[in-house]
Symmetry: C2
Subunit: 400 residues, 2 copies
Amino acid sequence: MAEPFPYHFSRRIRATPRSFIREILKVTEKPDIISFAGGLPSPEFLDSAGVARATEEVLRKEGCSALQYSTTEGCLPLRRWIAERYAARYSLEVSPEEILITNGSQQTLDLVARILLDEGDPVGIEAPGYLGAIQAFSQSMPRFCPVPLERGGPDVAAFARVIEEDHPVFFYGIPNSQNPSGITYTEGRRKELATLLDGTETMVVEDDAYGEIRFNGRAIRPLKCDLPERTVLCGTFSKIVAPGLRLGWMCAPEEIIEQAVTAKQASDLHTSIFSQLVLARYLEHQDIDAHIREITRAYAARCGLMVSLMEERFPKEVTFTRPNGGMFVWLTLPEGASSMELWRRAMEEKVAILPGTPFYTDGDGDRGVRLNFSNADPEKIRTGIGRLADVLERYLGSIA
Amino acid sequence: MAEPFPYHFSRRIRATPRSFIREILKVTEKPDIISFAGGLPSPEFLDSAGVARATEEVLRKEGCSALQYSTTEGCLPLRRWIAERYAARYSLEVSPEEILITNGSQQTLDLVARILLDEGDPVGIEAPGYLGAIQAFSQSMPRFCPVPLERGGPDVAAFARVIEEDHPVFFYGIPNSQNPSGITYTEGRRKELATLLDGTETMVVEDDAYGEIRFNGRAIRPLKCDLPERTVLCGTFSKIVAPGLRLGWMCAPEEIIEQAVTAKQASDLHTSIFSQLVLARYLEHQDIDAHIREITRAYAARCGLMVSLMEERFPKEVTFTRPNGGMFVWLTLPEGASSMELWRRAMEEKVAILPGTPFYTDGDGDRGVRLNFSNADPEKIRTGIGRLADVLERYLGSIA
């Protein structure tokens, strides 16, 4: 028999963690499992009728130009819409030339890594941090410098130490309703971080995936407003319209966009113009603010229900965040407990959670658990949190 | 005034050439220019009515699952269609598990680079070679080892020398109607290359973007048939359905696909499920073979017209290929002439060509010119080649 062909894979692909979420999702996709493990929007807010109307109109009016090659930068009406939204929402003035359309914000993170990171470069990141970002950046084999999150945002002393001692190329964070923790940086904390960054050469990669999904109070302005030149702002239509279209963006100074365009040309030439035109038309006809209010109201109710059930039913040693937006709540188990073991036990009771380790770059996090509240309906939240409460009680009892 | 923020870009983005084609296209997009510079399909074969019908049906039947997050591997019906097409067209047996859906074949090339190349790794490539591939691979900063193309495919002696002396990680080529040369490797040449590769550790990245666009004679089997384990086959729907959908694929052994899935997760999670389902439905209803016959007939006629006009009108010192498929013909100017100067002079007469240098990794190629025959209609081909003949005569006369 012939020898099998010896494949030699690159160092950087060997350095890239497979997404634990996606691996877990495969196990949890069975219909009898109640899953809090994923990060999916609720299906009833995916407006297939609206998208159908927009598509029909695009193909009727634009015809074959919706199917031809297009520009790397992305379609101008969509870039204009984003610029106008920033102005309206955050009083942030940017031009369409400062916006690049991407295949969802995961690609924005990938492009950031390509244009800013070389092997061994230091990168500041929240702990826990978004695992999609950890994956995207890992392909450049950087050196991660974690900054612990506390209730109001990154720990200021730790942040200052990382900036001063490690001189990271950039700090990556999600100031609004962070994934996985659900934490929102306070206005004061944002000011402190901006002050610490001023005068340094550290950039900011600010991921605002959840800024539109805010349960109450007014929106807090992005770090980009205080640090416009050094901030790359990442946005997405996945949470407010539909993830299946794969449409997100990068908003950054033109010097950055220019490099990102070169990287995107080399990556995939451009984002589907078909999807872009459909979305642009959809946004033109749709009352998107009303749609976002509907989503927000539903997610706020689910989050409130989940948190109140946990307050009622969970052992007191388990602590958790009280998110004011987004899609996730973060649990911390008591000393000695392991989220991997909890995951295993919960699966036996047909409820899926996400263990915390993949959100840490240093192997930490085994006492953390991420729960998603956007995808399961109230009935499932009731049943699922009930099961999880029982599992937790038995598990913590067994190790006490 | 404050100092501007000092951006530090990565070494690899600085090593990536901007696409000369896209830069040139910006200049040539004016309506009064006859352009042979691009590589666009002819607009009349972009079936917006068919895509509209498919979309309507997808959104009616699949509803919101067409708009939700999906799998990185891509939708199964599409992967099955591709596998069945390989079996029917080339008697090549692959399973859907050996196929990964990508955002067009440019992403396939990018994923290949990510999983196989580290800095400084040797890569064999045709000279002239496809500039999109040069761009994609450049981000890994490899060492390019060019192999000159001759009428029947890569020069065998040069190929043997590169394989033996440089031990490239892979050889990248387009055996059918190559971009930019229009050359198709003969069956005999393919066998010789396969024999030379056997027993080495060099892989093959076989780009079959134009295999379906063949003007006459039967299809020649891909190198993948002789070297299944070591070949990554790249395909695309851009030439036979629509480039604006950005849908292509990688076909490779499962060990390779597994790594590519990790790289794609980190790049953009997955390809638009909306576009994938629309395309799958389109292929189900459409007589795609009849559609491809129509495209092929039209491109064959345009190519024939362009070549016969060049035979009639061009100075005899200008030689060119006689393509049997694809979208491009390659000119070689006589000693002492420069395609950049020809480009400048042609632009003055409102006809756009593509100079040869960006297709070479070693600065060579200034006597080469790529002309596209798929996008301009016969009337424009007549006028454009007429103008180009006049420009050539004057230019070559001036340097004789």
